[in-house]
């Protein structure tokens, strides 16, 4: 029998459990100077979390290097295999939006580890937080590199070439900023543990980083799955960090009220933001209309409802935590019964002139698939997409200003996605100012959760909504051409728009500033605030009734 090399070279060593125990012992309790709690939290800890993964950095770095080698090798292979000859431009265009957004939440997650390590006691989980910190640097820069790769090799690089500037300015990416800023502001545990790890990473990275790459592959894009499945392989570590920290938080009964608040806020806002963006990209960014393919609603049921809600959230009840089953049901209803994703896609296509990517009109195959997966879809959305296709040609008014019956939506002050399910729109006052919300849950988030007191308990660490949150307010009363110029969404010839409502790669077909001049942009919220109480009430009632699109 042959003797293996490993048998010859084997040396006595310590177990992984022993290694992690020694590493955890690197920490100590300072006695000469007390470390300041730089980031506030209203949570209390009675015990320190344990490290569930038992990993050490000397095994982590080579593993990650190997993962990188595979990713970058695959990108090279994609080029050698002429991927861009057969990739679907409809898909790659949506990557201009997705990849503009995602590096910011990633790097925010790296910052988040500074906060979490600062407030969570003990040193057992520090290596876990450290790995997550470096992972997030990985994700951010690997995604920036992927975007650069698309820019260098795809037929229309415009939009990729202004990516981070566009991220700071676009009406759609503002939704992604709400997501990323949620990881680094306000109560330290709310932001880092609940919003980031327990909800975003444990639940919604599955749709972000698993379901979406599958759709990419169906559209001839093998780069995105390669990068994002590699990213997702890091997420399991973050989920472990999150769960272990959550168990330590749960250990103190005094935290339960705050946990209930934060899981509610985080779940609803993740649903509102991630489902809006990823649902649209998966459903409307694809050319693959095989009917045996799962729809976003079916994916949501698998990843969020079964895997997350039933297997992760529900078991928390045995610790005495109240889980808002009604919110999970409400989110499900928004997707399956209230056409949330379809309304978001409609909104993005309505806003095409202020995008920085192209949106391809739908065709008959698309209509048939939507009708098959979502019976009744054509009756509700068919006229809109027929109009969109017709109005995508130069010489027509931009679709929002065409007489289609569409009513430009109010924006939700909380999740920043517009109030698209019209009957659910809520209006309320906070500190004497009027706001609009897409749902009761989002109203609650702003008015009740993000406040200095929660159910009679002072919550001085909780964050606040701030800044110029409503994008439309910035450009209220502006001419559309001036808005686009101010956004920087004009190509370097100084006239052709970056966004186009079609995939025509022909200068003669491409819209210019001249085609969009003379249309005024208004903020529905500014107008609403200026109305008399009676007019306002009438307007809100009318808004909640919805609208009917007719063919032009």
């Amino acid at each position: 029998m042959a003797t293996s090399l490993s048998k010859i070279t084997a040396q006595r060593g310590i177990s992984l459990a022993e290694a992690t125990r020694r590493i955890a012992d690197l920490g100590w309790l300072p006695t000469y100077a007390q470390q300041a709690l730089k980031y506030p939290t209203d949570y209390k800890f009675v015990k320190a979390p344990r490290d569930p993964m038992k990993q050490v950095l000397r095994s982590y770095f080579p593993m990650q290097e190997e993962k990188d080698n595979r990713v970058y090798g695959a990108l090279d292979a994609g080029l050698r295999g002429n991927m861009f000859r057969s990739v679907e431009p409809r898909w790659i265009e949506w990557m201009k939006l997705f990849l503009a957004i995602i590096p910011f939440p990633e790097i925010s997650a790296a910052r988040s580890m500074a906060i979490e390590a600062n407030v969570v006691p003990g040193h057992d989980l520090r290596t876990g937080y450290t790995m997550q910190m470096v992972d997030e640097l990985r994700h951010s820069t690997i995604q920036m590199n992927l975007k650069k790769w698309y820019m260098e090799n795809y037929i229309d690089p415009s939009g990729f070439d202004i990516t981070e500037a566009a991220f700071g300015k676009c009406y759609a990416t503002t939704i992604g900023r709400q997501f990323g800023e949620g990881f680094i502001t306000g109560d330290a545990i709310t932001a880092t543990n609940i919003y980031l790890q327990v909800v975003a990473e444990t639940a919604f990275t599955n749709t972000l980083f698993v379901a979406m790459p599958s759709e990419a592959a169906r559209n001839g894009d093998y780069a995105l799955p390669t990068v994002f499945l590699s990213v997702q392989s890091d997420e399991s570590r973050h989920i472990g960090n999150g769960h272990s920290t959550l168990m330590a938080v749960l250990n103190e009964p005094d935290n339960h009220l705050l946990l209930e608040r934060d899981i509610r806020y985080a779940f609803w806002q993740n649903h509102a933001i991630v489902d809006a963006a990823i649902g649209t990209i998966i459903e409307y960014g694809t050319k693959d209309r095989r009917k045996d393919k799962e729809s976003y609603a079916e994916l949501w049921q698998r990843w969020i409802f079964d895997d997350y809600y039933r297997s992760y959230l529900l078991p928390l009840e045995k610790y005495g935590l109240k889980i808002h089953h009604d919110d999970v049901q409400a989110a499900w209803d928004r997707i399956i019964k209230k056409d949330y994703v379809h309304y978001v896609a409609q909104f993005f296509s309505a806003g095409w002139p202020v995008n920085f990517w192209r949106i391809d009109p739908l065709d008959e195959r698309d209509f048939e698939w939507f009708e098959y997966k979502y019976p009744g879809w054509y009756k509700k959305f068919g006229a809109w997409w027929e109009n969109y296709r017709k109005l995508s040609k130069r010489g027509n008014p931009p679709i929002v200003w065409a007489d289609t019956g569409y009513v430009y939506p109010h924006r939700c002050w909380s999740c920043l996605v517009p109030c698209l399910i019209r009957e659910d729109m809520v209006v309320d006052e906070v500190d004497g100012q009027l706001y609009t919300y897409c749902s009761e849950q989002c109203r609650w988030t702003h008015k009740v959760a993000f406040a200095s007191e929660y159910e009679g308990r002072p919550t001085p660490a909780m964050g606040r909504f701030s800044g110029r949150r409503q994008w439309e307010e910035v450009y209220h009363g502006w001419d559309l051409a001036d808005v686009i110029k101010d956004l920087g969404f004009v190509r370097t010839d100084g006239r052709t728009l970056v966004p186009q409502p079609h995939l025509e790669f022909d200068e003669r077909e491409m819209w210019t500033l001249d085609d969009v001049r003379g249309y005024e942009l208004r903020s529905p919220l500014v107008d609403l605030r200026q109305m008399t109480p009676e007019d306002r009430e009438r307007h809100i009632a009318e808004y909640r009734k919805g609208f009917t699109v007719h063919k032009v």
Binding site: I14, D25, E88, M133, V134, T141, G168, G182, T185
Partner: protein
């Protein structure tokens, strides 16, 4: 049916406005052409002074936004000017860290296979057990401080530099821990792994160092921490101990392995030091805030340098412990002082340095 050429989405398949705009065009590279590091780093952290149209949209309860220049006393007329000379982003970071891990593992495996560890001088083993092992806690403390510090910088370039610095320090602290655990079985009970922490916590020689490390950890200004660690603590304490003692004395005591472990930390420090000096020099020479920044850095020096000098002097007896002496404490200390002075001169803080300045 369209041909492959007709439906191709390859670059150059059609010509139209900006078909060839294949560079990120929202920032100015430092050199003639953008580096890959710049492309994957610049502007990933937004800034209301550049493209963040609506400002930061969630704040802390006191109104402080997600990123705020108030989190450091240094001021800048252009936070975005800084680029890290080591140009580290994820890929080179993992490549470099992995190379170090493999280097150490191979060296230790070979050394152990040759029975080298069992031939270490027994007094030297005691030094490793008590003092080399104690130093891992100082390294760890600096890593924790930097991990916290990477939250607050005003740009991605600044935060990335602090982040990779944290990653290096925390790896090195673990390198020492696991190296000692790896060689302990070959020493048949002669190395008590618990003694390092015991000395860190209670040995009088290490207490001023621990006080210094805890003082840096307690600071809330991330650039103060970055400055204190790489301009003061590293040269005056950590490099002094690593290169001025361990690396010099080990071989004479039959130990050629420990200097291999230590060498990785020195190479790490070189990179982190150059990054820090580059950033601090930018701050010191800022056309608007340079004078203010020099004053702040001078205050930091006044605060940390005496603590570090005192801590270094307390470590002096360790130099007397080995049976064979090669390099006295005073020589090593003068090298450290000279290093600090060189760094301060590079930053533009001449005249603020150590004892001999």
């Amino acid at each position: 049916m369209a041909t492959v050429e007709e439906r191709s989405a390859e670059a150059g398949a059609r010509k139209f406005p900006d078909w060839d705009s294949r560079r990120y065009r929202y920032y100015q590279p430092i050199g003639r052409k953008a580096t890959l590091y710049e492309d994957v780093t610049v502007d990933v952290q937004p800034d209301p002074d550049r493209y963040l149209l609506q400002g930061w949209i969630i704040s802390f309860a006191d109104g402080t936004p997600a990123y705020s220049p108030t989190r450091t006393r240094l001021k800048s007329s252009d936070w975005h000017a800084y680029r890290a000379p080591d140009e580290e982003w994820e890929r080179p970071h993992y490549q470099r860290q992995s190379a170090i891990v493999r280097m150490i593992q191979q060296a230790v495996a070979n050394g152990r296979a040759q029975g080298a560890v069992s031939r270490f001088d027994r007094d030297w083993v005691h030094i490793l057990q008590n003092h080399f092992s104690a130093s891992k806690h100082a390294e760890y403390g600096m890593g924790i401080a930097l991990m916290s510090g990477q939250r607050d910088g005003m740009t991605q370039m600044i935060n990335n530099s602090i982040l990779v610095n944290a990653s290096y320090k925390l790896r090195y602290a673990q390198d020492i821990t696991l190296y000692l655990a790896d060689i302990a079985p070959d020493l048949n009970g002669a190395l008590d792994e618990a003694q390092g922490k015991e000395h860190w916590m209670n040995d009088e020689l290490w207490q001023p160092t621990r006080a210094l490390v805890e003082t840096v950890l307690a600071a809330t200004d991330h650039l103060e921490q970055y400055f204190a660690i790489n301009i003061v603590v590293e040269p005056m304490i950590l490099e002094l101990f690593r290169s001025g003692f361990i690396a010099q004395a080990a071989a004479l005591h039959g130990d050629f392995l420990t200097p291999t472990v230590v060498s990785a930390a020195e190479a790490d420090y070189t990179r982190n030091m150059v990054n820090t000096v580059t950033l601090m020099r930018l701050m010191a020479k800022d056309p608007v805030h340079g004078t203010h920044n020099q004053g702040v850095m001078a205050e930091w020096l006044d605060h940390y340098l005496p603590l570090a000098q005192n801590a270094a002097q307390h470590l002096q007896p360790i130099w007397s412990l080995p049976r064979m002496k090669v390099h006295g404490f005073q020589d090593a200390y003068q090298t450290a002082v000279s290093r600090v002075n060189t760094l301060l001169a590079e930053i533009g803080l001449d005249g603020n340095g150590g004892e001999n300045s």
